[in-house]
Subunit: 422 residues, 2 copies
């Protein structure tokens, strides 16, 4: 067997007009990406093309000029819509030939179900010359492995129930043999309580050196409301060396981002809070005003959260703050419902009333109305009563839903910090 | 203004290395496809590119050779990873220029939050020469509209909360003006409380005739946990005729699906419940056990919900059911916490304690643990106290999060039905 170089980069091309409607997305490529990453192969680009020969041809020609492995999914069916075989033969300069062995298998599949084979299914037995056949245990269309100019073009069926077993049985072993010990490893750092640019400003001095180290580490930064993710990836031979390099990178970033770092292994903020509470045999109760139950909803998303969540009071109306949380009407009168004294009274109230170890309160102005010059929309007070007393006033940007999401993240992070330092 | 031809085809390019991992998919393009279809524009191809200038450049060059409208999402952030502006300028032969107006807006956004602008954010004020600015009401990066050789290259931010309002306020009107009367109209019927196949069984006799009518109507059925959507679309030149055809189709479907129909215009269940409560000058309180605050979180998502939500009690622990909702320990002892008598006591308790007109209670077993042969995971009791008394026990399928979502939908739908018939 000729010496071949390992494959480092792949592109995925999903074929099918239904994937260009508002209601269907290509999810095969997520699964394939996981499998390819495990083999040390990075997915560099994905395309979604309709059942259109010209579009598919231009996408495949460009992909063949760029990536070492191109995987198409879909378009191998029996109808005239199914163009992947024809276009793949054209871009690799092959002719399509009827493969009697494949035809026989398709015929006998139909025969086993007592059916004649429709004439259109002959299309599925057409094979680009020189292609290796990858038997499909579940459907009629085999996968096709075409090598051309040091590149591999791989045609796979679209239905997940055919694609997944075919990949694992036929494609994974071939790629693993070719790539040897080559692997790609990933770490996800979750951060909260700072903006994307602030996170970047603190992380950049650390990660800017990552690419020039013995084992280079790629860093990507990712922002969603109330949360930032840093993705670190390293590729190469020897999983242990990659893990060690990533561990060291994670440690250095963690030092630079302390206080904002939720987890180094992708755990969510609510999971981390739950683990901290459970380790201390403590239980939490939450009083929510502007967030209206979202903080409690997020905490109780964690399976087994009944061990460390007692419950809470959603005090949307001031009357509930007074009657159920024991906040004095005079305090609300003097400072307003969105104020640090009222926040502290709510936190203490929910802790005492529900018999919790930790009480948290969120009161603020989520908008779109209710803001004043002194307390504009986005003003949110978060108070903690339990492991020490903390109260802070935040000024969040964004619309109603964004203010609510950021408030919940900030409240859970205050609990995390208080528990970590206690 | 020069006469310009309508736009019929578009390509969407999603930019961001995180979209090439196994864990994240591009969902913006689904939303955008819906909006573009409404304007009679067909999406022909989608690409997903990492934060890599060479790859983005080759994809954009090919797209500009093929489609009339190219929309990029993402890569407009403040970090060195964010390359879309630079590459777009290169492929259209423009220079990047600092726009003082944009810079000033970014600076004042930071100033309003009492923060200095990080130096990196200057990147977001760089604009390809000749590009039209599309103000971003939510974030720092404006959208950019670049016309080149009869084609439009449109750079939009990646975060959905910035992308969606920016598209609707700035892009939709420009495209609508350009495309004239050619339209694709859509109606969305929201249903709840029945399975996808049950919905289809009832709707199919009605919609089966839709395609052979003078103005054919396409019907698509779409299921998410706790909710079914029927999308009706009609395409053609006269918006009025399309609307009339769709109205007639909606009326006939609504008759077949009564009781399960939440809205005919895309309003959410919580909006409909809020409107019903507000019209009756009633206020609601919710007692949640297994749903842990999600029902209240959903109700308070609606702007202005303080007019009709008082608040609620999240009684995750039985002690809270007893102390805060006045459920008798003997009742829990006799029937269990997940039982119709306890559900009714919780609903009455939250209504009385919080002084509401309508009390709702949800108590159940969301899993993954806690199920018994008599009350397996998915058993959920929902009770209503207020406009009559109702209690029902449901058996929901699916995992923890699915059981919780379905429970909330069922509870809100019980309120809707009770208020509609009262």
């Amino acid at each position: 067997m000729a010496r071949v170089s390992p494959i480092r980069t792949a592109e995925i091309v999903a074929v099918g007009s239904e994937l260009l409607t508002p209601h269907r997305s290509d999810t095969n490529s997520l699964w394939l990406t996981g499998r390819l990453n495990d083999l040390g192969i990075d997915v560099r680009l994905k395309s979604i093309v309709g059942d259109d020969a010209a579009d598919l041809e231009s996408v495949l020609r460009l992909a063949l000029a760029r990536a070492e492995l191109i995987i198409t999914t879909g378009g191998l069916g029996p109808t005239v819509d199914d163009l992947t075989r024809d276009v793949a033969a054209r871009v690799t300069g092959r002719t399509l030939e009827l493969n009697e062995g494949v035809l026989e298998k398709i015929r006998s599949r139909f025969a086993r179900r007592g059916l004649p084979m429709p004439e259109t299914n002959v299309r599925q037995a057409m094979v680009p010359s020189g292609a290796a056949l990858l038997p499909n245990p579940v459907g009629t269309a085999p996968g096709l492995w075409i090598e051309t100019d040091e590149r591999v073009l791989l045609l796979l069926p679209g239905p997940p129930r055919e694609l997944f077993p075919l990949f694992d049985a036929q494609v994974q072993p071939r790629l693993a043999e070719r790539n040897g010990a080559q692997r790609l490893r990933r770490r996800v750092l979750r951060l909260t309580g700072l903006s994307e640019s602030a996170a970047d400003e603190r992380a950049q001095p650390v990660y800017s050196g990552f690419l020039s180290e013995t084992i280079p580490i790629q860093t990507t930064i990712l922002a969603t409301p109330g949360q930032i993710e840093l993705h670190l990836t390293a590729a190469g031979a020897g999983p242990e060396a990659l893990d060690a390099a990533l561990d060291s990178g994670v440690r250095r970033l963690a030092d630079a981002l302390r206080d904002h770092l939720i987890s180094e292994d992708g755990r969510t903020l609510e999971q981390v809070v739950g683990e901290l509470l459970e380790a201390r045999a403590m239980r939490i109760a939450v009083a929510e005003s502007c967030t209206g139950g979202i903080a409690l909803g997020r905490l109780t998303d964690v399976p087994g959260s009944s061990a460390w969540v007692i419950g809470g009071i959603v005090a949307y109306d001031n009357a509930v703050k007074i009657a159920e949380l024991g906040v004095s009407p005079a305090l609300i009168e003097a400072h307003g419902a969105v104020s640090e004294p009222v926040g502290q009274a709510m936190a203490a109230g929910v802790r005492e009333r529900l018999g919790a170890d930790v009480g948290v309160a969120i009161t603020g102005i989520a908008g779109p109305t209710g803001g004043t010059p002194a307390k504009p929309v986005g003003t949110v007070v978060i108070a903690l009563d339990g492991p020490g007393r903390v109260v802070r006033t935040f000024a969040f940007a964004g619309d109603r839903s964004m203010v609510r999401v950021q408030s919940v993240a900030a409240a859970l992070n205050m609990v995390r910090i208080a528990l970590t330092s206690s």
